[in-house]
C-alpha cells in the first residue's frame, strides 16, 4: 500500500492571533475581491457566474413560459384564430427548445457552479474562467435563438427538428439553421460545464473527503456531468450532418440520394432520452441534499441512492428508441428498448423509496422547501407511472404523438425537475442572499402552482386518449376536446400566477430586512459554513473532512475554519489558490493557482458566438474573421492564464503540510480536463461511426461499385502520415523531458506538415474514386469522416505550434511541461480517431467484399 499521512493526526493549529487573522483576511479579500463597478462582468468567481447563470436561465424560463401561455390561449377554444398557424409552429418549437436547452440543462450547471464548490469546501471550481466562458456562450446563443421569434424566423419544426422537414430547405427556412447553429453553440457551454464539474468533484474535494464520505449532491453532479459527456456529442454530430445537408447539400437525409431521415431520429434521441435524466437527476439531487436537513438525520440508504444515480445514468442510454416505436423498426428491436425502459424504473424507484424511508424514520420539520419537495415527489411518481405505460409498445402505438404524451412528459419534467428546483430556490436563497424568503408567499406560490399544474395537465391525459394530436394549431368543436382544453388553459394561467408569486418572493428587495443567522436551516453539509455577511473567498480555510455531514458530526468545525486553523488560510503570494486532492481518498496533492477576473473569456465567447451566428446567414468571410478572433482571444487567455511556472516549487499550506505548486500529467486538473473533453469528442465521433453503420444496415446498396471505393494504398499512406505525426509528438514529450528543447520544438513543428500530408493522401484517395458528397450518402459519409479528421488536425496544428512557442519562450520547460503532456494526450485520441477512420474507409468495405 502507499505510504500515507494520517490527516487526523496533524499537528495542532497555532494559537489564535487576532492580528494575524485580520491580516490574512485582508490578503484573502484582496485576492478574491470582485472587480468594482461595471467591470464586474469580468468576474469569474463561481458565486458571481453561478448567480448570472441562474438568473439568465430563469429569464429564458419566463420567456418560454410566456410562449406556453400563448399556446394555451390559442387552444382554449375550438376554431381559434388568435395566432396564425405559422406563428403557432414557432411558438411550440421555441417553447420546447428554450425549456430544454436554455433552461433545464443550464439551470443544472447554474446551481452546480453556485453551490458545488461550497459543498466541497473549495474556494472555487478548478477552471473558473472556463465557467465564465461557458456562461457568456450560453447568454449569447440563448438570446440569438430566442430573439429569432421577434423577426418571425424562429425554428418551427418541433423541438426535435425531424428530417426531412428540417433538412429540405423548401420546407424549412432560416429557423432550422438558427436552431442548429444556435444550439450547437450552447452545447459548447454545456460540455464546458460538464468538464468543469467532473474535474471539480474528482479533484477539488477537501482533504479527507473520501468517496464514501462524499455528499450525495456531488455524486449526482458527477454522474450527470458524465452523462452530458456521452449524450450531447451525438447530437453535435447530428447537427453537423444536418447543417452540412442544409448549407452544402450533402446527401445525409435525402432518400433519393441514399440518405435516411431516420438517422436523425436516432442521433437526436441518443441525446434526447438521456437528456431527460440529465435534467431530472440534478434536481432530485437537490431533494437528496435538503431532505436530511429537514429530517435532522443522515439519508437512509445513502449508498442505494448512489446506486440509483449510477444505474439510471447507464440505463437511460438504452431508452432512445422508445421515442421511435412507430417508425417501423423490427419488433424485436423495439422490445429491447421497451425492456430497458421498464428496467430504468427500478433504480428510479429506489431513490424515491430512500426519500420516503428517511421521512418515515424521522420527524420532518415542516417548511416551504419540504412542501415543494413533497409536491415534486407526488407529481413525479404520477408521471413515472404513465411513463411505464408508454414504455409498452402496444400502448405507445395508441398514445404516440397525442396529448397523452404531452401530459406524461410535463408530469415527469415539472415533477422531477421544476418543483425540486423551486424547493432548492427556497432552500438556498438564504445561502445566496443571506436574507430569508417570505414563507407566506412561498406557501401561496406552491399551492397555486401545484393546483394550476394538475388542472392544466391532468385533463391532457384524456384529451390525448380522445385523440387530440400534439402540436395541432386548432381543432373543431365536433372533436369534443373543447371543455378539457379550456380547463387546461385555466390551469396553465393559475400555474403562471403561482410562478409570478414566487418570482416576486425571490426578487423582492430585502435591503432593510435583517440578515439570517449562519447555517439558517441547521444543515450538515459544508456550504452552510459560509459567513454572514458573505465573503468572496468561499471558505476561510479548507478543513479536513472525515464525516458525511461535517457540520453535524465535526464539533466546532465552523470555529476552526473561521479562525483560519485549516489549510490555505492565507494568500501571501496574492494568488487565488485551491487544494487539489486525489480521486479516491482526497489526499492533498498540490496547490492549484486559478485565474482571476478577465475580459478575455468574454472576447472569446463573443467571437465564437459571432462565428455561429454569421454562419447561419452564410456570411463566410466574416465568419472566418471572427473565427480568427476567437482563436486569438483563446490563445491569449491560455498563454497568460494557464500552466504558469510557480515562483517556488512548493508552499506551506498550514498544519504541517507542504504541497507542490505545480503538477503535470494525470495529477493536474488540466490533464483530466483534456481527457474528459476528448472523451466527449470521441463520443461525437462515435456518432459518425454509428451513422456509417446505420447506412450500411439500412441500405442494401450502401457501398458503391469497387472503383468508387477509395484506394487502399493512398489510404494507408495517409494513415502512416497521421500516425507519424502522433509519434513525433510523443517523441517530443520524451525529448523535452531529457532537456533537448531544440529537438522537441523541431518535432512539434514538423509533425504539423506530416499530419496534413497524411490527410492530403486521404483526400486524394476520395477524389480519385470520384466521390461527390452531394451525390450519394456513401460519398458524403466518406468526406465527412475526412472532414472530421481535418478539423481536428487544424486544432492539432494550432496546439503544436502553441506548445512549440511556449517551449521557446521557456514557459514550457523540461521540469514544467504540463502543456506538452496535455497536447500528447490530445494526440493519443487523434491517432485513435485516425485508425478507426482508416478501418471504416479501407478495411470494412474490403471485409464486406465491396472493394
Amino acid at each position: 500500500m502507499t505510504q500515507e499521512i494520517d490527516l487526523s493526526k496533524l499537528p495542532p493549529a497555532e494559537p489564535y492571533d487576532e492580528a494575524r487573522d485580520k491580516a490574512q483576511r485582508k490578503r484573502l479579500l484582496d485576492v478574491w475581491q470582485e472587480p468594482p463597478g461595471w467591470k464586474i462582468i469580468s468576474a469569474v468567481n463561481n458565486d458571481h457566474v453561478g448567480k448570472w447563470y441562474l438568473l439568465t436561465s430563469f429569464a429564458f424560463f419566463v420567456f418560454a413560459g410566456i410562449l406556453a401561455l400563448m399556446i394555451r390561449a390559442q387552444l382554449a377554444v375550438p376554431d381559434n384564430d388568435l395566432f396564425g398557424q405559422s406563428l403557432y409552429n414557432q411558438l411550440f418549437t421555441l417553447h420546447g427548445t428554450a425549456m430544454m436547452f436554455l433552461f433545464a440543462v443550464p439551470i443544472f450547471e447554474a446551481v452546480a457552479i453556485l453551490v458545488l464548490p461550497e459543498i466541497l469546501g473549495a474556494r472555487d471550481l478548478p477552471f473558473p474562467r472556463l465557467s465564465a466562458f461557458g456562461y457568456w456562450c450560453f447568454l449569447i446563443g440563448g438570446v440569438f435563438v430566442c430573439g429569432s421569434i421577434f423577426f418571425g424566423v424562429a425554428p418551427d419544426g418541433g423541438w426535435f427538428m425531424y428530417t426531412p422537414l428540417s433538412s429540405n430547405t423548401d420546407y424549412s427556412g432560416l429557423g432550422a439553421d438558427i436552431w442548429l447553429l444556435g444550439l450547437s453553440f450552447i452545447e459548447v457551454s454545456s460540455i464546458a460545464a460538464a468538464v468543469e464539474l467532473i474535474v471539480g468533484v474528482l479533484k477539488c474535494r477537501p482533504p479527507g473527503m473520501r468517496l464514501n464520505l462524499m455528499p450525495l449532491y456531488c455524486w449526482y453532479v458527477l454522474v450527470v456531468a458524465g452523462m452530458i459527456l456521452f449524450a450531447f456529442p451525438p447530437l453535435i454530430a447530428g447537427d453537423l450532418l444536418l447543417e452540412m445537408e442544409r448549407a452544402f447539400d450533402w446527401a445525409f437525409f435525402d432518400v433519393d440520394r441514399g440518405g435516411d431521415p431516420l438517422l436523425w431520429q436516432h442521433l437526436f434521441w441518443i441525446f434526447g432520452h438521456p437528456e431527460v435524466y440529465i435534467i431530472f437527476l440534478p434536481s432530485i439531487a437537490l431533494i437528496a441534499t435538503m431532505l436530511p436537513t429537514f429530517a435532522n438525520r443522515p439519508m437512509v440508504g445513502h449508498s442505494w441512492i448512489v446506486l440509483s444515480a449510477v444505474g439510471v445514468a447507464f440505463l437511460s442510454f438504452g431508452l432512445w428508441v422508445h421515442h421511435m416505436f412507430t417508425t417501423g423498426l423490427p419488433e424485436i428491436s423495439l422490445s429491447f428498448f421497451s425492456a430497458a425502459s421498464e428496467a430504468v424504473a427500478v433504480p428510479t424507484g429506489i431513490q424515491i423509496f430512500c426519500f420516503i424511508a428517511t421521512m418515515l424514520v424521522s420527524k420532518v420539520r415542516a417548511s416551504v422547501p419540504m412542501l415543494f419537495a413533497g409536491g415534486a415527489l407526488a407529481i413525479f411518481v404520477f408521471g413515472g407511472l404513465t411513463g411505464v405505460m408508454v414504455a409498452l409498445v402496444p400502448f405507445d402505438w395508441q398514445a404516440h404523438d397525442s396529448y397523452f404524451v404531452v401530459a406524461h412528459l410535463h408530469y415527469t419534467l415539472i415533477g422531477g425537475m421544476l418543483f425540486p428546483l423551486f424547493a432548492g430556490i427556497h432552500y438556498w436563497y438564504p445561502f445566496v442572499t443571506q436574507k430569508a424568503m417570505s414563507d407566506r408567499l412561498g406557501t401561496w406560490s406552491f399551492w397555486l402552482m401545484f393546483g394550476g399544474f394538475n388542472l392544466a395537465f391532468l385533463p391532457m391525459h384524456w384529451t390525448g386518449v380522445m385523440g387530440m394530436p400534439r402540436r395541432v394549431w386548432t381543432y373543431d368543436v365536433t372533436d369534443g376536446w373543447a371543455v378539457l382544453n379550456m380547463v387546461s388553459t385555466v390551469g396553465a394561467f393559475v400555474f403562471a400566477a403561482g410562478f409570478a408569486v414566487l418570482a416576486v418572493n425571490v426578487l423582492w428587495p430585502r435591503g432593510r430586512q435583517p440578515l439570517v443567522e449562519r447555517n439558517h436551516w441547521n444543515a450538515g453539509t459544508m456550504e452552510w459554513v459560509a459567513e454572514v455577511p458573505d465573503k468572496p473567498w468561499g471558505i476561510r480555510s479548507i478543513p479536513y473532512i472525515h464525516t458525511r455531514y461535517p457540520l453535524w458530526e465535526q464539533p466546532d468545525l465552523m470555529g476552526q475554519i473561521d479562525r483560519g486553523e485549516w489549510f490555505l488560510p492565507d494568500a501571501e503570494e496574492g494568488k487565488r489558490e485551491l487544494i487539489v486532492t486525489d480521486i479516491l481518498d482526497a489526499r492533498p496533492l498540490y496547490v492549484q493557482r486559478v485565474g482571476g477576473p478577465t475580459f478575455l473569456t468574454i472576447g472569446s465567447a463573443v467571437c465564437l458566438g459571432a462565428v455561429f451566428i454569421l454562419a447561419t446567414y452564410h456570411l463566410w468571410a466574416l465568419t472566418l474573421a471572427f473565427g480568427v478572433g476567437f482563436i486569438g482571444f483563446t490563445l491569449w487567455w491560455l498563454w497568460t492564464g494557464t500552466s504558469e511556472i510557480p515562483e517556488r516549487p512548493e508552499k506551506y499550506a498550514g498544519r504541517g503540510l507542504t504541497l507542490p505548486t505545480y503538477a503535470q500529467g494525470n495529477r493536474s486538473p488540466g490533464w483530466w480536463a483534456v481527457f474528459i473533453t476528448m472523451t466527449g469528442d470521441l463520443t461525437a465521433f462515435m456518432g459518425l461511426v454509428f451513422s456509417y453503420f446505420f447506412y450500411w444496415t439500412a441500405l442494401p446498396d450502401f457501398f458503391p461499385s469497387a472503383d468508387q471505393i477509395p484506394g487502399i494504398s493512398w489510404l494507408l499512406l495517409g494513415l502512416v502520415g497521421l500516425v507519424a505525426g502522433w509519434l513525433m509528438t510523443v517523441a517530443a514529450r520524451r525529448l523535452l523531458g531529457e532537456g533537448r528543447r531544440g529537438m522537441a520544438v523541431g518535432l512539434l513543428c514538423g509533425s504539423v506538415p506530416v499530419g496534413f500530408a497524411g490527410l492530403g493522401a486521404w483526400c486524394l484517395a476520395a477524389w480519385q474514386a470520384g466521390l461527390d458528397p452531394t451525390a450519394q450518402s456513401f460519398d458524403a459519409m466518406v468526406w465527412m469522416l475526412i472532414l472530421w479528421m481535418g478539423l481536428h488536425l487544424l486544432l492539432n496544428a494550432l496546439m503544436q505550434l502553441y506548445v512549440a512557442a511556449r517551449i521557446l519562450a521557456r514557459i514550457c520547460t523540461p521540469d514544467y511541461r504540463a502543456d506538452l503532456m496535455n497536447l500528447t494526450l490530445f494526440t493519443h485520441f487523434l491517432a485513435l480517431t485516425a485508425v478507426v477512420i482508416f478501418a471504416l474507409l479501407a478495411i470494412f468495405p474490403m471485409l464486406m467484399g465491396a472493394a
Partner: protein, 138 residues
C-alpha cells in the same frame, strides 16, 4: 525519464493518480457491471438490427445467440460481484453506514455499491434478453 517535478510530495499521495483497473483501490469496478450491460445492450440491438436487415424474418437461430450473450454477460457480472465481495469487502445491506474515514471503509463502500450495481445490471440484462424468447419473427 522521471524528473524532480514528477515526484509526489513526501508520503502524501499514491504514486501517480492514474486510474487503476478493477484491482483493489479503484473506482472502475463501480462502472464495470453497468458497462457490461451497455455493451450487451448495444450488441443485442446491433445484432438484431443487422439480422433483420440482412438475414431474414425468422428469429429462431439468433434466439440462441442472444441467450448465450446474456448468459456470458451475467456470468461476467457474477465474477465482478465476487470480486466486489472478496477483494473490496462489499456487503449487501439495506441500512448502509460505511462512514468510517479509512481506506478500508472507502473500499468497502465501493465494493458495496458495486455489488448493488452488479445486481441491477444482471436484472437489466435478463430484461433485455427476455424478448428474444417471445418473438419468433422480426
Amino acid at each position: 525519464m522521471t524528473r524532480e517535478s514528477d515526484k509526489q510530495p513526501g508520503g502524501y499521495g499514491p504514486p501517480g493518480d492514474a486510474p487503476r483497473l478493477i484491482g483493489q483501490g479503484s473506482v472502475w469496478i463501480m462502472v464495470a457491471a453497468p458497462t457490461i450491460w451497455a455493451l450487451h445492450f448495444v450488441a443485442s440491438y446491433t445484432f438484431a438490427a443487422t439480422w433483420c436487415a440482412k438475414a431474414g424474418p425468422s428469429l429462431a437461430e439468433p434466439r440462441w445467440i442472444i441467450a448465450m450473450m446474456g448468459v456470458i454477460c451475467v456470468a461476467l457480472i457474477g465474477w465482478l460481484a465476487l470480486l466486489a465481495v472478496r477483494r473490496y469487502g462489499g456487503v449487501f445491506v439495506i441500512f448502509e453506514e460505511i462512514t468510517e474515514s479509512s481506506e478500508r471503509a472507502r473500499d468497502r463502500f465501493i465494493g458495496h455499491v458495486s455489488l448493488l450495481l452488479c445486481i441491477l445490471s444482471a436484472v437489466a440484462i435478463v430484461f433485455t434478453a427476455l424478448p428474444g424468447f417471445f418473438f419468433s419473427t422480426c
